[in-house]
């Protein structure tokens, strides 16, 4: 399953403790429940008409105070030591500045390079210096079992060492406003040489891990209609479906020609979706916002050719 994906050392540390506590918990839960059921049946009024008045038993009392205490202390200790490991970044870790703001993430590397998704070379320690430009956010990578809050006027740090190539979700975990749930990004774990090529390459060095990201949405873009390929590679499908399922944004199915209420500069307006509207909606999403949806769509740069492919493709969805 995806969620058991242990993609970093920290994930192994966290899961180890989890399985320890989980095992104990299941054992105790079963024990208590079984005992309750057994007593209720065995000492029911019918089977056991006269109750015995037992006021207590000091030995038992001590036993079930000390056993849980000891177990809890082991849980604490295990949890704490593994956590300390997760917290102390090694000296040679590459420090990345993570900036959270309503509602996006940005990453800045030691040499000044910036990106919207986090690129990480595999098997190399990366230190995150997390801070926020406005309110409190939470920086969370589930596959790494890693989380640290982004707090304004304060820098919090954490680190990881990814162990598996791939692309993993970054989510914001502290409520930070309307689009809290859209404050997503990715960490893309790439081979070290690929990372270096980008990192030391000039301004326009291609971003690493392209293949990984596209593969995520669909195995082979070449098999897709060109419009859909664009939608896939630009990440539109994170928010729009092409089959009528509502997601963050409206579905693109049967969109063309539809009557719609949109908010233009604060006023509600009735429009018919035509080609001009679609182009505007994509190139300048904040200008008109569909009623009932958050103004959440990011502006995505597209070439004229890509744009017309997308529009043509949307038309075919009717």
């Amino acid at each position: 399953m995806d969620w058991m994906n242990q993609a970093a050392l920290s994930a192994q540390k966290s899961d180890a403790v989890f399985f320890y506590v989980f095992g104990l918990s299941v054992a105790f839960l079963i024990f208590i429940t079984a005992l309750m059921i057994y007593f209720v049946v065995r000492y029911s009024k019918k089977r056991h008409p006269v109750a015995e008045q037992i006021e207590g038993h000091l030995g038992l009392e001590l036993l079930w105070t000390s056993i849980p205490l000891v177990l809890f202390l082991t849980i604490f200790y295990y949890g704490w030591t593994n956590y300390e490991y997760m917290r102390q970044a090694p000296r040679d870790a590459m420090a990345v500045k993570v900036t959270a703001r309503q509602w996006s993430w940005s990453f800045e590397y030691p040499n000044g390079k910036k990106s919207k998704v986090l690129f990480a070379p595999i098997n190399k320690p990366m230190k995150m210096e997390v801070h926020s430009a406005d309110v409190v956010h939470g920086f969370f990578i589930p596959s790494f079992r890693l989380k640290i809050d982004a707090v304004p006027a304060r820098t919090n740090t954490t680190w990881f060492q990814a162990t598996k190539l791939g692309s993993y979700d970054i989510e914001c975990t502290v409520i930070c406003g309307v689009d809290h749930s859209l404050m997503l990004s990715k960490v893309i774990v790439v081979p070290e040489d690929e990372f270096k090529a980008w990192y030391f390459g000039g301004e326009d060095a291609p971003e690493p891990g392209k293949a990984l990201r596209a593969a995520e949405a669909h195995p082979d873009l070449k098999d897709l209609p060109p419009g859909l390929a664009v939608l896939t590679s630009k990440g539109c499908l994170a928010c729009h479906s092409v089959d009528g399922k509502p997601k963050v944004g409206p579905t693109l199915k049967a969109l063309y020609g539809r009557q719609e209420e949109v908010l233009v500069a604060g006023a509600m307006r009735q429009v018919t979706v035509d080609e001009a509207y679609l182009r505007r909606a994509i190139t300048n999403p904040m200008e008109q916002v569909v009623r009932g949806y958050p103004p959440a769509m990011p502006q995505t740069p597209m070439t004229e050719q890509e744009l017309s492919e997308v529009v043509r493709y949307i038309k075919t969805l009717n």
């Binding site: 006021e55 604490f76 593994n82 309307v178």
Partner: protein, 541 residues
């Protein structure tokens, strides 16, 4: 002690108006602790249903196709309001205000609480707070959207009506403190002759320790909320990083109260369970001293663990260690209680009735809630599951499965005494099944979602979480069904139910020695107590 002092002309029950005022006015101006308890009962059930309705809608939103009906802004308002209602209007005041008010004086052999007028005032504060909370939804910049924890600086910046909501919580805190003062004084001053401390029913110990937390922790949140209001209106800058303030200070102050508050919620429920189990096992409680002591221990140590809500906030690593350690220690007294309850069933003569079923359900669900709590307290796990649905699952298990079920059990146990009517046991059993199944589908689903990495307070979720969300939502439908059946059965009993006996369960604490419903003055003559509370000897011989 099944026979109560039968007298020539029984006193009228507290439900009969005897004063100059009649009907609603008589209720709204009453200083009788029993009537005040009933006032709380009705108002709280109403808020509970509203809160639950919102919970239900949130589940629908996670079915994705319902997102047309509700915007992200509304969703944020929904969970905030759901949290505020459930916490401040339902689980915190729940058991103490309803059953504490109604039964504390009776259990210790008193005629009323120490300050009856203050008691009524508390109810008015409660209602005022509740009304303000509701008003905050429709006035100002719209319903607050910060979550019930009102984290600064977002709560300082958002345009929504945080100030009013926070002020409402302040008033509710006031109500809660006044009730605490009343209960402590009552227990110290009004115990019947011979009612020594260690002869009190354990419910009283639970209420006593709860009241102390109310006194020692609530003022902190009161001042914190005042600071939020001042900050919003005057910009005093204590929490606002732009002015040198510190958001972490807010979090500390908020949780200094709000963690102990979770023990305010659970202790009285534990107390009620401790009353129910001996009555149906027909035997004395196992380890009276241990249970009484653990209540006080939970209250004491429980005040010292607040920062386990802040493990990922960037606190110092020393603080992380200290608070994780203390969190583990506070789990011990809860464990002691669980084992003592189970041991009380041993060699009893168990009369299986609806209250017992709900009490055992409480133990089961609370154990799951507690055990997940321990997972959260372990640092290495917490960094993964903090602020995910795992937390949401945990606290619904403890608050709904624990306090909520505890309240239902208490209601089933004391309903015949309070209203003199008996409900249909079959209907209650029937409602249990959908409730239990739905509950676990819903909230266990949330635990799994959390492990998968689904953050809480999310309007939309990533596709990999969808399946579990559907499971949870379907669970919520079963749960609704069960709850509607449950409340339906009780409502029916209230109007059409058969008359209840004075002591339908064969209980031996003082409330079972007086008529159902109790007379205005509770006791003809104040009883003199000669032995501990769970004295079943005469019965079983």
């Amino acid at each position: 002690m099944t026979t109560h002092a039968a007298t020539a002309q029984p006193q009228p029950s507290y439900l009969v108006d005897t004063g100059s005022r009649k009907g609603l006015m008589a209720w709204l101006t009453t200083t009788d602790h029993k009537r005040i308890g009933v006032l709380y009962l009705y108002s709280m059930i109403a808020f509970f249903l509203v809160g639950m309705g919102i919970g239900f809608v949130m589940r629908l939103v996670q079915l994705t196709s319902f997102q047309h009906l509700i915007t992200a802004q509304t969703y944020n308002a929904l969970f905030t309001v759901h949290g505020v209602i459930m916490i401040f209007l339902f689980v915190i005041p729940g058991l103490p205000a309803i059953f504490g008010n109604f039964f504390l004086p009776i259990l210790i052999g008193a005629k009323d609480v120490a300050f009856p007028r203050l008691n009524l005032a508390s109810w008015y504060f409660f209602m005022a707070g509740a009304i303000l909370a509701v008003l905050s939804l429709f006035t100002g910049g719209g319903a607050p959207d910060t979550g019930w924890s009102f984290y600064a600086p977002f709560s300082l910046k958002t345009g929504t009506n945080v100030s009013l909501a926070v002020f409402a919580a302040f008033i509710l805190g006031f109500s809660s403190m006044l009730t605490g003062i009343n209960f402590i004084t009552t227990i110290h001053r009004l115990r019947a002759p011979g009612m020594k401390w260690f002869r009190m029913p354990l419910m009283c110990w639970a209420l006593y320790s709860t009241s102390w937390i109310q006194l020692l922790a609530t003022p902190i949140v009161a001042i914190t909320l005042v600071l939020v209001i001042l900050e919003r209106f005057f910009g005093i800058g204590i929490f606002d990083p732009a002015k040198g303030g510190d958001p972490l200070l807010y979090q500390h102050l908020f949780w200094i109260y709000s963690h102990p508050a979770v023990y305010i919620m659970i202790l009285p429920a534990m107390g009620a369970i401790t009353e129910i189990i001996p009555t149906f096992a027909k035997r004395t409680i196992f380890g009276y001293g241990a249970i009484a002591f653990s209540s006080m221990a939970i209250a004491g140590v429980g005040s010292l663990v607040w920062a386990h809500h802040m493990f990922t906030s960037g606190m110092s690593s020393v603080a992380n260690m200290v608070f994780s350690l203390l969190t583990m220690i506070v789990a011990v007294p809860s464990a002691i209680k669980v084992f003592n309850w189970v041991a009380t069933l041993y060699k009893g003569s168990i009369d299986f009735q609806p209250p017992l079923l709900f009490a055992l359900t409480f133990i089961f669900l609370f154990a799951i809630g507690g055990l997940t709590g321990v997972m959260q307290g372990a640092l290495a796990i917490n960094v993964h599951i903090h602020d995910t649905y795992f937390i949401v699952g945990h606290f619904h298990y403890v608050m709904f499965g624990g306090t909520g079920m505890g309240l239902f059990a208490a209601l089933l146990y004391w309903f015949p005494k309070m209203f003199g009517k008996m409900y249909s046991k079959k209907a209650i059993y029937a409602s249990w099944f959908p409730m239990f199944i739905g509950f676990n589908m819903l909230y266990f689903g949330m635990l799994i979602l959390g492990m998968m990495g689904m953050p809480r307070r999310y309007y939309v979720h990533l596709p990999q979480f969808h399946t579990m969300h559907v499971v949870a939502t379907v669970g919520s439908w079963f749960l609704v069904l069960g709850l509607l059946m449950f409340f339906g059965a009780l409502l029916y009993a209230l109007f059409k139910g058969g008359k209840a006996e004075d002591n339908p369960w064969g209980g031996v604490t003082l409330e079972w020695t007086i008529p159902s419903p109790p007379p205005l003055e509770n006791f003809e003559t104040i009883p003199t107590i000669t032995h501990g509370p769970y004295h079943f000897e005469q019965e079983s011989k």
